[in-house]
């Protein structure tokens, strides 16, 4: 079984562990330092006593009588050639092993000794002295260091005793800390739970815009804004689409019902059926257009690109639609250099141009003029302008006309026809080819401008 801990608990445990670790390291250093200090102070004291005794022994030149000045209180022992020549009462009280041999000190001058819960440091010093004959004295001084040892022990004990205390403090502190840190997260969670498709306008509270959680909240809010926009678009799209579907359906249904009810002659029936077929054509077109748009939305489409001459493609579209312009007495002019080559998908490109030009023809009054201009600027940017002299598009609607089903004038749309998707498809076609499309200011009529970046013109790979 795998133990799953909440983020808060993990944070808390980690924090506690860290505090304990820091404490352990600190305690170890404090202990080591204090022990060392105490021991060196003790050693200094002992050394002093050894020096005092040694000085007296040295100055006496071996004369025992002078040694009595040293008194009887301090435990020390003086030997000559490892044979006891003088010892104090205090030394006797220690019950130190009777005979000391050079092996007892084992080449070290210091030794510890314990008896009846007392601890001693014992130090030996060698003194050579004498006026006539040379004497070799061994001065051995003992000093009780029970207290010092006890204080070191006490220190260790209190440091160890500190562990549970620190543990409690660390847990409490970490708990508080993680609570404090995760508090906003909990708040965000509760707020975020309240946001649903119906309340996409809600936003999360930004408590501190500068901390990490604040940043995250801001990013999340931005995401919500985009979602809300997309959702709105989708809602409007669904409403528009069902309207577009309903219109021909209503027409089919009522035509059929009326024809059945009136039961006229064969020609009346034929008329009714023909009218219904026209409406099914409209429906079929609508579905086709919608599918084309959404298929690319889903991003599942593989699109092939090749280096193509824009002039010839635009010319072929003009050739195709020229007849519609002629019918209305509209003149189409096309200004272009000999050739401009660009990496495009010809089908999408032509469809975009076709839809824009068809739109221009639709909205240009009789005997009007449509000017198409294709040019490559010095920076390499390729620009196509399609300019008509129709009524134009108000600036605030220039973005919207590319939205699906958008129509400037709903009443007009029936007479002009089309699915209301032409410009949306054109925009998609241009964007697939790395370009962008918009309506720009012009002195008269509407000017649709398509711009393709320079790099895509030079780029020989077929990247999308």
């Amino acid at each position: 079984m795998k133990l799953v801990l909440s983020f808060r608990t993990q944070l808390m445990l980690l924090n506690t562990l860290l505090v304990i670790l820091i404490y352990a390291v600190a305690a170890f250093f404090i202990y080591a330092f204090m022990k060392n200090r105490i021991e060196s102070v003790e050693l200094e004291k002992l050394q002093e006593q050894v020096s005092t005794v040694s000085t007296v022994v040295y100055k006496s030149g071996g004369d025992y009588n002078d040694w009595y000045h040293l008194g009887d209180q301090k435990p020390f022992l003086i030997m000559e050639d490892w044979k006891v020549s003088y010892q104090t009462t205090a030394w006797k009280d220690l019950n130190f092993p009777d005979k000391l041999t050079p092996g007892d000190f084992n080449n070290k001058s210091l030794k510890t000794y314990s008896a009846e819960q007392h601890n001693y440091l014992v130090k030996i010093n060698f003194v050579r002295t004498g006026i006539d004959t040379m004497h070799n004295f061994q001065v051995v001084v003992a000093m009780e260091n029970t207290e010092a040892l006890e204080s070191v022990e006490k220190l260790a004990r209190s440091l160890v005793l500190g562990i549970p205390l620190i543990l409690i403090l660390a847990v409490a502190g970490s708990f508080f800390l993680s609570n404090h840190a995760m508090g906003p997260v909990k708040l965000l969670r509760i707020k975020a739970q309240q946001i649903s498709a119906q309340s996409l306008s809600l936003r999360l509270p930004v408590i501190n815009a500068r901390d990490d959680i604040g940043q995250l909240t801001i990013v999340f809010n931005d995401l919500l804004t985009r979602l809300e926009y997309t959702f709105e678009q989708l809602k409007r799209f669904t409403a528009d689409a069902s309207h577009e579907f309903r219109t021909p359906l209503t027409s089919i249904r009522s035509t059929g019902q009326v024809a059945l009810k009136n039961a006229g002659n064969v020609n009346d029936f034929k008329d009714a059926v023909a009218s219904m077929l026209e409406d099914t054509d409209r429906l079929a077109n609508l579905i086709h257009d919608l599918l084309q748009l959404t298929r690319h939305d889903a991003g599942r489409l593989k699109i092939d690109f090749s280096k193509e001459d824009l002039v010839s493609h635009i010319n072929s579209v003009i050739e195709e639609l020229k007849i519609l312009a002629e019918e209305k007495g509209i003149t189409i002019s096309f200004l272009h250099p000999d050739t401009i080559r660009l990496h495009i998908n010809p089908a999408y490109f032509k469809q975009a141009i076709r839809n824009i030009l068809h739109n221009a023809i639709k909205y240009t009054p009789g005997s009007g003029l449509i000017e198409i201009q294709l040019r490559q600027e010095e920076s390499g940017i390729i620009r196509i302008d399609i300019k008509d002299n129709g009524p134009g598009i108000p600036p605030d609607l220039r973005e919207k006309v590319f939205e699906r089903f958008f129509r400037i004038d709903n009443a007009r749309s029936a007479s002009v026809g089309g699915s209301g998707l032409g410009l949306a498809i054109a925009k998609q076609g241009i964007e697939i080819n790395n370009g962008n499309i918009k309506f720009v200011d012009s002195n008269r009529g509407a000017t649709c401008r398509m711009v393709f970046p320079a790099n895509s013109a030079q780029d020989d790979s077929s990247a999308i």
């Binding site: 023909a274 009218s275 099914t280 054509d281 599918l291 298929r295 469809q351």
Partner: protein
């Protein structure tokens, strides 16, 4: 000519059957893949109209099974799926042609004619209807002995209509076959209508008998008036 229709939607199957019967074909309709396979394998069928999405065995499975049996009956796939991948899959499996729903009936008939005609020579050099004559090599058009000058697009349009004379031609067929636009596009419908009007004014206006007819809701047809 015996046509097997494998289509699970009864209304669509019935409509196709009626339409084909009125064109003089013998028609068997079945509603499942298994039945379709059984019929196709056990009796002589000249053409199979095959829906791809069927209950039980899918159209592709049936097609594969038939081809494995060594049956090379022409198969025309009818489907609502129209991504390029679907088309490729269908044609790779041995289908002879592909028609996306909702299709126009005249187009279905034209495809059937093309598939069943396969193998026979299609090299018609002169097309004739009443007193209208087309020379497919010189691309000259004459009516009642008079030369009729046509633009190249008008000629192509007329030749296509004449090749289908007596049969209706839909706007989609014209867009696809005459304008070579693979994707159906609304602007083209208007373009086709204008071309038809101009063509009609050139070949029909000054003559007694109209030959180019518009069938509302369906498309266009070249025929003499006394034909049904």
């Amino acid at each position: 000519m015996h046509i097997l229709v494998v289509e699970d939607e009864p209304k669509v199957a019935q409509a196709i059957k009626n339409g084909l019967l009125s064109e003089g074909y013998r028609v068997t309709t079945v509603h499942t893949g298994e039945e379709g396979f059984f019929q196709a394998a056990s009796q002589k069928v000249d053409l199979i109209l095959l829906d791809l999405m069927l209950p039980g065995k899918s159209g592709i499975e049936i097609l594969n099974a038939l081809r494995e049996l060594g049956k090379d009956t022409p198969v025309l796939i009818l489907t609502a799926k129209d991504t390029i991948e679907d088309r490729v899959l269908g044609l790779d499996s041995g289908a002879d042609d592909y028609l996306v729903k909702p299709f126009a009936f005249p187009e279905l008939l034209a495809r059937i004619r093309a598939l069943t005609r396969r193998g026979r020579s299609d090299q018609v050099l002169k097309l004739k209807l009443a007193d209208l004559e087309l020379d497919c090599i010189t691309r000259k058009v004459k009516r009642n002995g008079y030369d009729i000058p046509l633009t190249s697009k008008e000629y192509e349009l007329l030749e296509y209509l004449m090749r289908h004379q007596g049969h209706a031609v839909s706007r989609e067929m014209l867009a696809h076959d005459v304008w070579q636009v693979k994707d159906r596009a609304t602007p083209l419908d208007n373009v086709i209508d204008v071309h038809i009007n101009r063509l009609r004014s050139k070949i029909d206006t000054n003559f007694d008998q109209p030959l180019l007819h518009t069938i509302r809701g369906i498309g266009f047809i070249m025929k003499t008036e006394d034909e049904p």
